[in-house]
């Protein structure tokens, strides 16, 4: 139907010949703490994404408020909303245009699984971003609260650097 054939690069990005573990760690910590999202809102969740960037919740505390409109300059693609079959090639192109390393966050139920719009007989939507993108973090909700998005960012930082900003409060209670 609406799908176009857009060539994607499937070869892995060559890593450097000599690897420095310490430097890698440092760079990963840098990456984790300056996650610049792509200005890319699709639907309802995008409004909560904007609210997260604004005064009350303020994503900028984590260095993640630099919303870059150009995919070349961004690190995280926050898929915030329902992906339609008509939009899917566009999202794929945007993802391919982002330079490595890059991460994808599926924000909201629609981007995770199609959400309320996944029903028998539907003809328009893609059932989740992970159908065609490697999603790193899923943030559920319809739409997720801004706190949930912040939690998602912190989880992504944890995933990128392996370093936890704050200790898990529940773990300390259990032990």
């Amino acid at each position: 139907m609406g799908a176009q054939n857009i060539p994607t690069i499937n070869e892995p990005v060559p890593s450097s010949i000599v690897q420095f573990a310490a430097a890698d760690k440092l760079i990963n910590i840098c990456r984790a703490n300056s996650l610049w999202p792509l200005t890319f809102g699709i639907a309802c969740c995008a409004i909560e994404m904007m609210a997260t960037g604004c005064a009350r919740f303020d994503m900028s505390r984590f260095g993640a408020e630099v919303f870059r409109p150009s995919p070349r300059q961004s690190d995280v693609m926050i898929v915030a909303g329902t992906i339609t079959k008509k939009m899917m090639p566009g999202i794929k192109t945007l993802y391919d245009q982002m330079p490595e390393p890059k991460w994808v966050m599926a924000l909201g139920n629609c981007a995770i699984s199609g959400g309320p719009f996944a029903f028998e007989g539907q003809y328009s939507i893609v059932l989740g971003a992970d159908e065609f993108l490697p999603v790193d973090i899923y943030v559920p909700g319809c739409p997720p609260r801004p706190e949930a998005l912040l939690q998602g960012i912190i989880e992504l930082e944890h995933k990128v650097s392996g370093w936890k900003r704050w200790k898990d409060p529940e773990a300390s209670i259990r032990s």
Partner: protein
């Protein structure tokens, strides 16, 4: 008139604004043929967030469909829910208690303020000013908090039920709303100083995108787009529904037909909405919020029903074609932005791209509401 855009072997070039572009507020795409910075012709391509609301309307029962309306327009969701609920109540002959109608009006108007605030911030951001968005969203958070305490969600409310409401408001909500009104008036004075009086802002908008009454009529424009062109049209006044006749409020109309007029209309509307909320809080009657014998299964009489309401974005209409079954036979949602956006193609011809995008901002677009 929207015509197909083709590549031509001359000096002009085609620019795709969107589907991912900061000015389109979502996934809207405008193909523009440009001659330098000037737009020779434009064709809007929509449908990138078509979410099958009308198909779902046919497949789902009436209560199941309630949640879709707030996903359709997430900024001013209450108004859309109101239209749908009113239409089904009219078709099924359900009586609504007076208190429920008052609370509905309070909610719709608060949501309208929230929606206009968001538009205000996003519009100024389109013009390159970033800080007003932050201020506007901070004010909006107060409304969202109030509404969340009653409805349980921040954006996508499922608060109205056929015949009444899901939840009654409490004294805390009323107190918060009363506190909010003077606070909002103070903020409005601040916005007036910071944005409306700004020279650059006025220079950019004065005379930008002239929309005549005739163009508005031919395209079926409503809301501030029509009212900024001197058309005195507001469904709340023109064909009063719910308890709106009980309130004393004005329709702000500006006759300049430019983007500044559209801006002024919306800013004046915030004040009018505050007035309505104030009066509704004063007059709020006691009583139940659901009718005593609310039907469990909604089965409207067979027939063809239409209900228009004034949402934050204009005249929203629900056409319900029922065959007497549990699901609608056909549910058409007439979205106001669909018509408002349609006149963009014709109007932006000959404008410079920055003016065209300022004009686009002044239309108050919510893309999922266009695409449904």
């Amino acid at each position: 008139m929207s015509k197909p855009i083709e590549l031509r072997p001359d000096e002009t070039f085609v620019v795709n604004v969107g589907p991912q572009h900061p000015a389109t507020h979502g996934v809207l795409r405008v193909k523009m043929r440009m001659d330098g910075e000037y737009i020779v012709e434009a064709e809007t391509v929509i449908g990138y967030i078509h979410r099958m609301h009308e198909k779902m309307g046919e497949l789902k029962t009436y209560p199941q469909f309630l949640m879709n309306l707030s996903r359709m327009d997430y900024l001013g969701a209450m108004g859309y829910c109101h239209g749908h609920v009113l239409c089904v109540e009219k078709a099924a002959g359900i009586e609504v208690p007076e208190r429920a109608e008052y609370i509905r009006v309070i909610m719709v108007e608060l949501n309208r303020i929230a929606s206009h605030l968001f538009w205000f911030g996003a519009f100024v951001m389109d013009l390159g000013g970033f800080s007003p968005l932050m201020y506007a969203l901070q004010d909006r958070e107060y409304i969202l908090d109030m509404m969340e305490s009653v409805t349980g969600s921040r954006l996508t409310y499922c608060y109205f039920r056929f015949g009444g409401l899901y939840n009654d408001i409490d004294d805390e909500f009323i107190a918060a709303a009363r506190r909010f009104i003077p606070r909002m008036r103070k903020s409005m004075a601040k916005y007036e100083k910071l944005v409306t009086g700004n020279v650059i802002f006025r220079k950019r908008l004065e005379g930008n995108a002239f929309l005549s009454k005739e163009v508005c009529r031919k395209y079926g424009a409503s809301s501030a787009v029509a009212r900024g062109s001197g058309i005195n049209f507001d469904v709340r006044k023109n064909e009063p529904y719910s308890v709106y006749p009980e309130f004393n409020f004005d329709i702000p109309v500006f006759h300049e037909c430019d983007s500044l007029a559209r801006y002024n209309v919306r800013m004046a509307e915030i004040e009018q909405s505050l007035r309505i909320v104030e009066q509704a809080l004063d007059k709020l009657p006691d009583g139940p919020i659901m009718p005593a014998k609310a039907p469990k299964i909604i089965k409207p009489n067979a027939g063809d029903y239409y209900q228009a309401v004034e949402t934050a974005r204009g005249s929203f209409g629900v056409r319900l074609v029922s065959d007497g079954g549990k699901t609608p036979y056909r549910l058409k949602l007439r979205s106001p932005t669909y018509s408002n956006m349609h006149l963009f193609d014709e109007t932006c011809t000959g404008m410079m791209i920055m003016d065209a995008l300022a004009f686009m901002g002044s239309l108050d677009l919510v893309i999922p509401e266009i695409d449904r």
